[in-house]
Structures are given as C-alpha cells and as structure tokens.
Symmetry: C2
C-alpha cells in the first residue's frame, strides 16, 4: 500500500517537513500562486490518487486561507484521494461561539460546517474551546486535539529558574494548575474584566508569598495581547522581574509582540503559527496524533 501523502498549504512547509519525516508520510508537492486578479491557482504536483491525504494549514488570518484550503481538499478528492484530512495547528473562528446579540453570525459553527464538508478528519492544537465542551459539538468529522500544556511545562522547567506561573483568568485555572504542577512551580491567575475586543481590565491577586520568583504568564492565545501587556505592566509596577510570556498560539494582532518586547518581556510561543517567538515545537505531538489516528488509513 502506498504511504499517505502530506501536503502543505503556503507557509506551512517547515512543520510539514518535520511531520512527514516523523510519521513516514510522503511530502507531496503543491504548486500555488495568485493570478494577477487575486484569484488562486493551485496544482497537486504529486498525485493523491488512491492515497490518504493530510493537508496542513494553520489558520491565523483565516479569511484569505480557507478558500484555497477548500480548493485543495476538493481537488485531492477529484484526483482520487481515498481520504482527505486537515492538520490545522491553529484553528480559527472558535471565539464567536454563540449569538451574543440578535442577528449575529455564529461563525464557529459555520466554519466547522464548511471544514466538515471539505475534510474527513481534523487534528488541531488546543482549540479555543470556551462555551463548547469539545469540537464534536460543531464538527461532524472525527477530530483529535493535541495539548501543548506538557510542552509548556517542559519549556518552563528547563529554561526558567524559580518560576511563578500566572494564568489569564479564573476560567483557565485548571489548565494553569496543570502546567504549574508539571513544571514544579506555584501558580496564580489574574482577575479579568473584558469590556470589548481591545479593552480588558485586570488585577493581580496577592503574590507576596512568591516574591523573588520569575513570573511566567501563560495563555492559549496572544492576539491583541492586551491581557499580557497589562499584566506585564502591573507586575513591573509591583517590582517584579521582567516576566516571560508564553502562549500556544501567537497571533500578535496590533503589533502586540513588539509592545511586549518593548516592556522587557520574553515572549515564547509554539510553532502552531510561524513567528520569531516560536520556541516550543508541536511537531512531535502532532506526529503522535497522526500515527494513532486510525481514521486516516481506515
């Protein structure tokens, strides 16, 4: 039987190479370019005929990526792929998870619908599940979730002396506690009041017991980074050492990476979204999920 084919959408080549090697998939060639009018040209250079195909595409800035991604999946199928799956290290559109005001689009469901139509299975890293208990509430296809928490713990343990883990809000407490436990560190969480997309007020709990430790702020996503930026400012104003800021997914909207660096924070992210701050590799865990996911070959 021919081995499964792994195909990278533009910008995902590095992780694709790592994954293909780890799991013994063939790395397939995909030719893509933009026509002068902005339309996408796409061609499978390696034929997917009769093969299981995994397409890797992280979905930061999803609007311009999802259409070409759907083209790839549909083309693989037309060319005779037996199965077509999606590895999306960062899965977008998880935050609009209910109609907060009448008339709103619940885009998380709509994107899940489109991707469930296009793909047979999905693997992702720490999706932003807030009001959903699991991806199966909105995705109709088998899904596997890779958890980066152990990787964060490992990173902290090996790189930070005397860490104090600080989570973004009380809702994240369980996740933060697990990260801290594995890192052998104490933890706290911020008190957070969100007033809008870009307006978040936060407060520090009493951290006197851990004076002298290096604060390590952890979150699943840094987008505008308002929480992180405010937390770094607060910690500095209370005389703490410049913190380390760790996120699974570094989206860095509004130049938040620059602001954090200017405040003296060390920013670290996983490579779920390619960025200069990537220092935590999710490749091995994704490879594990790929190998164990029986849906792919069945």
């Amino acid at each position: 039987m021919t081995s499964p084919l792994l195909v990278a959408m533009p910008g995902n080549e590095r992780l694709a190479m790592e994954l293909a090697e780890a799991v013994g998939f063939e790395l397939g060639g995909l030719e893509t370019r933009q026509f002068p009018d902005g339309e996408t040209y796409l061609r499978f250079v390696t034929t997917p005929k009769g093969r299981s195909v995994a397409i890797i595409c992280t979905l930061a800035h999803p609007n311009e990526k999802i259409l070409p991604l759907i083209f790839s999946a549909a083309t693989a199928r037309e060319l005779g792929a037996s199965k077509v799956g999606l590895i999306s290290p960062y899965l977008a559109y998880m935050r609009q998870d209910r109609r907060f005001k009448p008339g709103e689009a619940v885009t998380s469901r709509q994107v899940a619908h489109l991707l469930s139509d296009a793909f047979d299975w999905l693997i992702t890293v720490d999706p932003h599940l807030h009001r959903y208990g699991s991806l199966s509430e909105i995705y109709r296809i088998p899904t596997r979730v890779v958890h980066a928490a152990p990787l964060i713990s490992q990173w902290v343990k090996s790189k930070v002396t005397n860490p104090l883990i600080i989570g973004p809000d009380s809702e994240s407490e369980q996740w933060v506690a697990a990260v801290a436990k594995d890192a052998g560190a104490p933890f706290s969480v911020l008190e957070k009041v969100r007033r809008g997309d870009r307006d978040v007020e936060i407060k520090l709990k009493n951290l006197d017991a851990w004076t002298g430790r290096t604060p390590v702020l952890v979150d699943d996503i840094i987008s505008t980074g308002r929480t992180m930026i405010e937390a770094v400012r607060l910690l500095k104003s209370h005389g703490w050492a410049p913190p380390v800021c760790i996120a699974v997914h570094g989206l860095f909207a509004d130049n938040s990476d620059v602001f954090l660096a200017q405040l003296g924070a060390q920013v670290v992210t996983s490579n779920s979204v390619p960025h200069g701050t990537n220092d935590i590799g999710v490749g091995k865990m994704l490879a594990g999920a790929l190998s164990e996911f029986s849906t792919i070959s069945s």
Copy 2:
C-alpha cells in the same frame, strides 16, 4: 406579505441602495467588522425571519470576500429567511474552467459548488463563460445573467462620434458585432496570442477603411489590461486618435488603469466593480432581472 430584504456586503452599498429603490425591496442593515486577529464579525440588524433575502456582493478579489459572504447566507437562513439569493455583479473564478495540466484545481466548479450550497439563486452580469456554455453547467441553483452589451452600445452611441468598435479576439466577434450593430458602428477584432497570465501578443487587422474614426476597444474584463494596453500602443503607433477602452468588469490588476490613462486612453467600465472609471450603470438591468426572477418569491 413582507417585502424581500436586500442586504449589501461591504463595498456594495451604493448599488444596493439603487436596486432596493428600483424593485421595492427593503434595504436591510448588516453590521460587519474585523476582529483584531483578522476574523470577521457579522450581524443582521434587520431580521430576515420569514423573508426572501437577496445579498449583493461583487467578487473582485474574491478570496477574502467569499467566507464572509457564506457567513451572511448561512446566518440569514439560521435566522429564518425563506430564501437566500446572491446578486454578484462580478462573478469571480470563472477562468479556471478545466484541468489544463494534471493535478490542477478547477476552481470555477469548486466556487460554484460552495455558492450553490450557500444560496438558492444567483444573478450576475456577463460571467466570463469561455468553455462553459452556461452557468447551469457548474451552478446547481437557478441563475439569471444580465448582459451589459446594450448598455455599452448606448454609451458609445451617446458619447463617441464616429466610433470604430474593436474587440479583443476572434472568439469575441459575435459579442463585438452585436455591440457595434446597436451602436451603429463598424467593428474589427484583434488577433491575439496568449503566452502566460501577463504575456499576450496582439496584432491589428487592416483598419484602413475606417481611418479617422475613434477606436473603441471593448472587452468583458480588464484585469492586467495587457491586451488593451498593447492595443492602445499599436493604434497610437499607427496614427489613430487616443482610443476609448470599455469593459464590463474593471478589475485593474497591476495598476492597468493607471497605465491606460498614461497612454491617453479614456477608460470606461460598468459599476459591477466599484471604480473611478464607472460610467455605465447596471442597476436598472439588475433590477429588471430581480423583478422577473420568480424563483425569489416562490
């Protein structure tokens, strides 16, 4: 019975107002914005419940537009719309209409599939049908096509003295002949050899019989405008007056509008894609198609 609702995607407000007034549809409010991370927020301000909904969205630069458009259609349905149709004055992705090389995505079919899933009907202006005989070959929903040729003839008749209509290639001869006939003008077509997306060689036929007329170059689309630009240069080098360049759809990739203007050509387009060169209004014809399209209310 409540009147149908017309809703404009961003950038389509002007034509939407004109259309709503012409056909007696209510112009509905749609709130859209981008979250800091690039995701789209979308909300129907006017409820589509129990109503027939027409969404207007021209599709120049389609990649970032199609996802929000699909969100709108899905949301209208979730909110109880009885039917949801699409008015797309410029319909994108019509050019990749077969697999020219093995492995290529036939994106025209894939986009047709997505839009046929999302909408109940489609109205558009002069889609770029090349190898397809009609939209029904790829769209599974009822479609209506508005033809701008009579509007071009009218414009030429009222604005150009002694015109000579020149079409882009022999394949367009029938269309060009019809435009010329209605404008009461003679016509010719260019001889065209396409070598790539941006590389087109053209030749003029013998035009001696019409010396002294104003050349009027017509085409369905100006994208990179290579054909038009070369034709303008050729005509000028043969001593002709600066030509008028007319297209139904002005996409103007690679600043072709600027190049044409620099060569002294007068550029005129329909308002299917909003642009400073718009001088041919398709609103009335779209309104006619909307009024006569029984699918909408049935």
